[in-house]
Symmetry: C2
Subunit: 331 residues, 2 copies
């Protein structure tokens, strides 16, 4: 009897350990709690009227057709401004340790408020964004459905956007199928890549259900990372010198789609990104074969992309402030 119990216990512990032994967890599709809020958030996410010009929407740089990014080194902002940093993906972005490369926003709500008012991005103001959205009669019913009344505030705008963004989860990647027990889901090369990804230390940072996004790390841990990009990382938030070049560890889900890589977008290919990471973070020069294995593994992290019905936005009214993309810049 005792022996059987022990065997059972060991078996449970064994199973638990087998599961817990993988540093990456499958990602789960999201449960939508307030569909009206999500729908409003989707409309706002695609609405270019949140920008000064009336041309740039959240989706311009976090394009859901292309992995939730713009596939540019750094993003194009108002008046073709050259953004300071690479656009991180909006896919699976909910629940990270923080938002932005330097973690300066705690939540998606807080993050969403940033680009609207950033002069190098959408270049509007929160006051103007509220004024514009409130001037569009067709939005009233969507705010009412989401919040109970038609009042427009910046907090409601960002709450709705964040609710939409929370739904942008990409389950069912081949790697998740493998994690869940389908051992045929990966090829030998991909599996070898995963073993190497673990054994050489990548999973120290790239772990959990997002394969990243849960910690900060210095870029250039064992060897300085050379870049002309002037972003200082967490130092810009903390003011502390030791936080220079410390960035949030990016999410590797759908990494095949989210090129180019790093905060400066300087790695154009996955091969280059793996090579540089090995070198500056782990002090390891991967062989060509090893790099190919890791890249093959990384490509198994592409999940089902969110199915988006493109929104139809309500028209502006005579009360909507006019957009003039070429208006002289304010000093």
């Amino acid at each position: 009897m005792k022996k059987t119990l022990l065997a059972a216990l060991l078996s449970v512990v064994g199973m638990h350990c087998a599961v817990a032994a993988e540093p990456i967890d499958p990602i789960q599709p999201v449960k939508v709690e307030n569909p009206a809020l999500v729908n409003l958030g989707k409309m706002l996410f695609f609405d270019p009227r949140l920008s000064r010009s009336g041309f740039i929407s959240c989706n311009s740089c976090h394009n859901l057709a292309t992995g939730g990014v713009d596939n540019l080194k750094t993003s194009i902002g108002d008046r073709w401004a050259q953004g300071p940093i690479n656009s991180p993906t909006v896919l699976n972005s909910f629940g990270q340790i923080a938002q932005f490369w330097d973690g300066r926003a705690k939540t998606l709500e807080e993050q969403a408020a940033g680009p609207i008012a950033n002069p190098l991005e959408m270049a509007s103001t929160h006051e103007m964004a509220v004024k514009v959205i409130a001037s569009i009669p067709g939005y009233a019913k969507y705010f009412k459905a989401a919040f109970g009344d038609a009042g427009v505030t910046i907090d409601r705008i960002t709450e709705a956007m964040a609710a939409f963004e929370k739904t942008l989860v990409t389950p069912n990647s081949r790697f998740d199928k493998w994690l869940k027990g389908n051992k045929k889901a990966l090829t030998k090369q991909e599996l070898a890549g995963y073993q190497l990804f673990k054994s050489s230390g990548c999973t120290m940072c790239h772990n959990g259900e997002k394969v990243g996004g849960s910690s900060f790390q210095k870029m250039g841990l064992v060897r300085p990372y050379e870049t002309t990009n002037t972003a200082e990382g967490v130092k810009a938030v903390s003011g502390r010198d030791q936080d220079r070049m410390t960035f949030k560890v990016p999410i590797l889900r759908n990494v095949e789609l989210t090129y180019p890589y790093f905060h400066d977008g300087e790695a154009a290919t996955l091969e280059k990104a793996v090579e540089v990471m090995g070198d500056v973070q782990l002090g390891r020069r991967y062989t060509e074969k090893e790099t190919a294995q890791i890249v093959a593994f990384l490509k198994t992290l592409t999940g089902d992309q969110p199915k988006i019905t493109y929104p139809v936005l309500p028209p502006s009214s005579a009360a909507t402030p006019a957009f003039d993309p070429w208006a002289p810049a304010k000093k």
Copy 2:
């Protein structure tokens, strides 16, 4: 007997006349003949990699979230260029007498080739567009499904885009319901607006199933139209002085969504557009009440907007030319 026959004939003629008497026809949903071609066209329509910068797609200025236009006076192009003319809607655009305000393209296929290579719009070249699309491995299966093989040419790209655009029809407007016999579909004010629209001559040009798009007309027929916009209209195509300021009559379906109005985008509201049209085309000053009636009628032309599932685009490869939005301009 003879009397009955005559009555029957008169009745048939009468019915026919009653239908034929309306200068506007209902618009019909489109039959998709080659869904694979349409799907490929949708992907290309949303793909920003057809532009020099990798940032601007067809949808940037013909946004299907906002009536197939950008709601700007003139469009933003490569490097924030100020376009010369207002973006016409892509909705219901198939089968017009020609494409572009000056009619310089005969077909949607021919039109689609224009902006890709226009330095003030997408600023790429046809050669580059083909090179980019051909370098994206994930497109091969879509070209194969659409054309039988994976070959990429500019003609195939524009043929696919045009096939998609042909599906962008907006049936079931309230006015169409009224045309089809539902006399409750319009209010008294809207109906009065329609009667005035007909009786004051608007339907001389704005007729047929698109309520426009079937003829060219001089802007400023009875009184010169004053504008700082330098577009010369058909003269730019024909070279003939008498074609100066002659433009294609724009489609009025969904006109509620396609503000601002005219080739120069100078009329911000429908009220203003109706007022100016009455003045310079018809020599008529509408009263405030009349203008409100016509505007009310025009708003009944908004139909069901196309239901678009946002495409997921295949990633670039190492062979894809790099995009550098801020590269020095070529002389």
